[in-house]
Every structure is written in structure tokens, then in C-alpha cells.
């Protein structure tokens, strides 16, 4: 009887330990989403998203913020402030200069974006984090084509 209790206790302790390890690795330390491999929630022209945010920011925020977008447009420029690589689609001239969609490119995908000539039509995918009154901001982006 005593042995059975000890065995059951050990099994429970082992189960608890395994649960703890799983929770630690898969919940507390779960990795960030790899947005270059994530399926897009929306595939569309970048200018269409920009226009939606510009005309009705609240509605567009509810629709696109936190979603994975695959956006096609003409590459205006690639900026490299500090350690970042930012691809820019410009559509308007506003108070902060050019306005449009700004894509922060994942480090491992920066080379492929830098190699694209301005004026080329490209599709970039990433996480939409919102609209800051001048630009639609996309993070964790990669070149689709």
C-alpha cells in the first residue's frame, strides 16, 4: 500500500515537473511569431489600405491592426536609419513630408529588399500595427515577390 502511494506521488511529481517545463517553454518563453511564414489575413494593394486608414482611421484600425497583410505597391525608397531597414511606399505629400505605408523589414530579409530598385512593383508581408496620422506602419516584414 505504502509503495503504491509512493509510486503515485512520484508519478504526480513527475507529471507536475513535465507540466512546469512545458508551460515554461511553450507559454512563458514561447517564441515570437515568424511573420515571414505566417499566412496573410488580407492580400491587397497597399494604396487601398492607406486610403482606408486615411478616410476612416477608426474603422480601418479595427479591421487591420494586429493582422498580417500582404501588400503590393511601387517601392518608393528603402531607408536605413540606425540598424533598421524600412521600405517605403509613398502616396501623398503631407505635414511630415511623404505619406504612405512604411514596412520595417526583418533583418534576415533586409538584403533582398535593399536589392530591389526603387520604382519596382513588389509585394511585402508583415504585421500591421496601425496608422499614425501620416503612415500605415507595418512591422516584421519580408519580401513576398
Amino acid at each position: 500500500m505504502k509503495r503504491k502511494i509512493l509510486t503515485a506521488g512520484a508519478a504526480l511529481a513527475g507529471l507536475g515537473l513535465i507540466t512546469g517545463i512545458l508551460v515554461y517553454f511553450f507559454l512563458f518563453n514561447k517564441p515570437h511569431t515568424d511573420y515571414s511564414k505566417a499566412e496573410a489575413d488580407f492580400e491587397m494593394k497597399a494604396i487601398a489600405v492607406f486610403e482606408e486608414f486615411r478616410t476612416n482611421p477608426e474603422l480601418a484600425s479595427g479591421k487591420y491592426n494586429g493582422k498580417v497583410l500582404s501588400l503590393t505597391g511601387e517601392l518608393t525608397a528603402v531607408e536605413q536609419p540606425d540598424s533598421l531597414t524600412i521600405a517605403v511606399f509613398s502616396y501623398e505629400e503631407g505635414m511630415f513630408g511623404s505619406e504612405g505605408v512604411r514596412f520595417t523589414i526583418l533583418t534576415e530579409h533586409a538584403g533582398s529588399v535593399i536589392a530591389v530598385a526603387p520604382g519596382s512593383t513588389v509585394t511585402l508581408k508583415g504585421l500591421c500595427t496601425g496608422y499614425n496620422e501620416t503612415d500605415v506602419i507595418m512591422e516584421h516584414c519580408s519580401l513576398v515577390k
Partner: protein, 184 residues
């Protein structure tokens, strides 16, 4: 939120329409840092819009909350979903003035100590703040830096009891904006 957005737009409009010389960036940097004996938590945002008007001293910045990057994905989720509710309050804004604008010589390289006063809006709550910082004039550019603390409770950010020991009640905010002349 709507009021804050309109106010920010008006502040921007005032900043730009009155002045002859504006400095802007779309890649400003904001970091926040929480330190407790249990753990340190920090997040970074490098897509901050900011503008400084050399003539009026108007200084504004706008931050998308979902652009903050955390080391741990779970903490980023909790930050957006539970603490700042970034779906409901997608932006944080500051709109204010450089108090001692006259002390800054925009034609001469140097570091100028400043005080900036204005309205800081986080999670839809606006508070008056007055913080010290510096503007460094360097070869026609202006680098603004400030470090200050905010009380989470002031902005309606509640920390659940289960993680009360992990997150500091006071958060350190570091701001660095490399402002360039707006080409017009």
C-alpha cells in the same frame, strides 16, 4: 481617443503652419523599462513620429502601441491585450512646448539642456507633464533625448495581483529622436 487624435492633429498643424523651420523624424525611438527584484522588462519602439518647431518650440510625438517590441512574446501579448488595450487605444501621444527655447542656438553645434512641458496621453488618459531633457544640435540636425518616469496608475494601467511583483508601478521612459529639417 478621438479628442486626443484631433488635439494631436491640431498641434501638428500649428507646429507646421506657423513655423518656417521644422525638424521631423518618422523613426524616433522610445524604450520603456520596468525593474523589479523578480525581473526586468523592457520594450522598444523605433517607428515614432516626432516634430519640433524651431520658431514656436512646439514639440510633439506619436507612438503606435502595437509597435513596441518585447523580448518575450507572452509579455508583448499581455501588454497589448491586458495592460494598454492597444486595440481600443492604439496610440500614445505627447504634445507640448520646449520651455527654454531661447537657450537653444540652432545654428551652433552643441548640447542644450531643456525642459519640455505638455500633455502626455496614454490609454486615453491625458496628464500634464514637465520633463528635463536635451537637444543636441549637430550639423543641421537636432537630437532630442529625455528619460523620465511615469506611474502606471496615473494612466489607468492596472497590474493584476498575480504579476504585481514582476512589474514595477513606476516605468522609466527613454526618448531619443533624431530630427532632420523638413524639406519643403
Amino acid at each position: 481617443m478621438k479628442k486626443a487624435t484631433i488635439f494631436f492633429m491640431l498641434a501638428l498643424l500649428a507646429t507646421v503652419s506657423v513655423s518656417a523651420q521644422k525638424y521631423i523624424t518618422k523613426n524616433g525611438y522610445i524604450r520603456f523599462f520596468s525593474s523589479t527584484p523578480v525581473e526586468d522588462i523592457e520594450a522598444h519602439n523605433r517607428q515614432v513620429n516626432s516634430a519640433l518647431d524651431q520658431k514656436t518650440g512646439d514639440f510633439v510625438f506619436k507612438v503606435l502601441m502595437k509597435s513596441f517590441q518585447f523580448e518575450k512574446a507572452l509579455m508583448q501579448e499581455h501588454f497589448n491585450e491586458n495592460y494598454v488595450e492597444s486595440d481600443k487605444f492604439p496610440n500614445a501621444t505627447f504634445s507640448g512646448k520646449v520651455k527654454n527655447l531661447g537657450d537653444i542656438d540652432f545654428t551652433k553645434n552643441g548640447v542644450y539642456q531643456t525642459t519640455v512641458e505638455g500633455d502626455l496621453t496614454i490609454k486615453g488618459v491625458t496628464k500634464k507633464v514637465s520633463e528635463k531633457g536635451s537637444f543636441e544640435v549637430k550639423d543641421g540636425k537636432v537630437i532630442g533625448k529625455s528619460t523620465f518616469n511615469i506611474l502606471l496608475a496615473d494612466y489607468g494601467i492596472k497590474i493584476p495581483n498575480t504579476v504585481a511583483n514582476n512589474i514595477s508601478k513606476t516605468i522609466q521612459i527613454d526618448v531619443e529622436v533624431n530630427l532632420e529639417k523638413l524639406a519643403k
